[in-house]
Symmetry: C2
Subunit: 367 residues, 2 copies
């Protein structure tokens, strides 16, 4: 078992523990009751996670109040779902002494965190991520929220958990495409922060694809440390934290334009390649970077091009609504080398001329 | 014109200005653009406020993006309204560089503040309260939120404004019952913090009822200072800030049980009397307190009893769902004298035996 401590938000001098290991689920509730004595637990999960047996493992034979999101996945990640969960909590007479537990993938965690942020103006949340993408990324960092009709994560709050429990055996129940696409956030972490980690991924991709717990534990630990370090420095994304959006400007647009037919990781894979082509065009490429990234993503079975029915015009319009857009212009995080983000005049995200973005989109197959 | 500065939240060393005066509206947008350069303004208001000409006065001839809540009032204060406003902001391509302006009474301010708290995970808000209740209370302090099916302000966030503009001429357009019931929060402020202020209210109730701007300015200034002092000490209501809920435990229940047929101030008036009777029963009364409070509330035209169709049982059940209830038991702020809240073992809110609460409700006419 490994531990990482995330010091956030800096103003409050608070930190929260991330626990990483195998077969942890059964001990989580007892541990939370030690950490937050007297609180009533309320578990938010979804039908897939419950069906995989993780809710039962977490409950460990006890009756735990819960809300099971159904249908699971991005289609339920909207304002109405949050309202329904909040009303269910009211109906159960829950008060400010509630502790929300998010058990599931990125969608569950984002919804559970948002529910906790606004129920009775804020109660604590703990995350128990069960997917590769949630374990690598969404459970850490305090971002919560839901999608609008127009864009991803449009409405939400920064709400840091009181604890995160990463059980690396839970991704064993994921289907192959879910499992693989969740690994793309790990590729992103390596690209923005650690060239040696990128080489580790290239070397261990076989063990990763066969879901070896030891490698998954190593991965979770590296991801948590990278993410924790970035988030601690900038918990509400004023500047440096934007590096975590590497590949996400185009990624979010492609995901949204697909009507969420593409998984987040699949869309971000394309977004990482778009960023790499933009870097090439601006003279920041080199060292076979596009080829190495494309090679690793291909081994993971990710798409290397934008679906044929997506147009440059539609993608550009979606990017204008991006949360990080300023004055209607999307901002891009760019690398100067694998493991190193370009920082210009103190800014970690850069405006890019629309023609350059459009050229990258066309290169990847957009009409 | 008078100014009060509210230092919150303490961790961030930030403060925001409250400006109090007559005929301020036309200067607000320009002042906000000075305070928060480069931001796009988005005004949230309601049909009553727009109908009274305040939106036009605020816009000062300029095209300002806005959302007009219709129907106005508590019936629109729900999760769905917030979702509709957020989607309208997305449709208008607004980004993180938005500044939300809440123009209206308590409901508008609570909704506008909540919208700002969750749009793109948080943008700034400024409040321009136009009613007696909003000027005395809801615009200051950073509480935002909406009602659930079960209880008031069940879902929301703490989100402090960047500025508050109190134009004491705007309440002139309120109808008599709205105007008068809004003065109840001023009575509450005097009761919890300032015996001399209570005497001032008793002496100046005639000038108040004839809406003299000079007296309203004095009132706004005293209210802001009391509220700012309490909020600065405890911005997220961990303890002392609870004193601001004086009279609200029963008040919220009566308001909710009336199906919002009673105005907030009318319900709180009854709640203040319930608190006074509980204090009597527990031996904290005396000095003709109940009589003085009832006398002032009667001159203001407030109800002095609970509507005849409300039962003790129903009111007690609603109070169990109160945000401040702990383990299903509502907590009460109690006075030891006019101007002084009872603090026992460091706690500013106390559990009270259900029989004592029930007796007070019966005394006020509940079945």
């Amino acid at each position: 078992m490994r531990h990482v401590s995330v010091p956030v938000p800096p103003g409050e001098g608070r930190s929260y523990p991330i626990t990483i290991g195998s077969d942890l689920l059964g001990a989580v509730c007892a541990r939370l009751q030690e950490m937050q004595p007297g609180r009533r637990l309320f578990v938010v999960t979804d039908a897939n996670v419950a069906g995989a047996g993780h809710l039962e493992a977490l409950s460990a034979g006890q009756a735990v109040e819960r809300f099971v999101i159904d249908p699971p996945g991005e289609t339920s990640k909207h304002w109405g779902t949050v309202g329904a969960i909040l009303e269910a909590m009211e109906a159960a007479c829950l008060g400010r002494d509630t502790l929300v537990v998010g058990l599931g993938g990125g969608t569950v965690g984002d919804i559970a965190g948002f529910v906790a942020a606004v129920f009775k103006r804020g109660v604590p949340v703990a995350h128990v991520p069960t997917t590769t993408v949630a374990q690598a990324d969404s459970a850490i960092g305090g971002k919560t929220g839901v999608d609008s009709t127009w864009s991803k994560n449009a409405f939400g709050a920064f709400w840091h958990p009181v604890g995160v429990f990463v059980d690396v055996t839970t991704p064993a129940t994921l289907d192959e495409v879910q499992y693989r696409s969740g690994l793309v956030e790990s590729v992103k972490h390596a690209l923005i922060a650690d060239a040696e980690y990128f080489a580790f991924l290239e070397e261990n991709v076989g063990a990763l694809l066969s879901r070896e717990p030891a490698v998954l534990e190593e991965l979770a630990w590296r991801n948590c440390r990278i993410k924790a370090e970035v988030v601690a420095e900038d918990p509400t994304e004023k500047n440096r934290r934007r590096v975590l959006n590497y590949g996400h400007t185009v990624g979010h647009a492609v995901e949204s334009a697909s009507g969420y037919g593409l998984l987040h990781g699949q869309a971000v894979a394309v977004g990482l390649l778009a960023a790499a082509w933009i870097e090439e065009a601006l003279g920041w490429g080199g060292g076979q970077r596009v080829e190495r990234i494309a090679g690793l993503l291909e081994t993971l079975g990710m798409p290397l091009s934008i679906p044929g029915d997506q147009t440059v015009e539609a993608l550009m319009a979606i990017m204008q609504r991006d949360k990080k857009a300023l004055g209607g212009r999307p901002q891009f995080v760019l690398l100067e080398a694998i493991g190193r983000v370009l920082c210009r005049e103190g800014q970690w995200a850069q405006p890019v001329a629309p023609e350059v973005v459009e050229a990258a989109l066309k290169r990847l197959g957009a009409k």
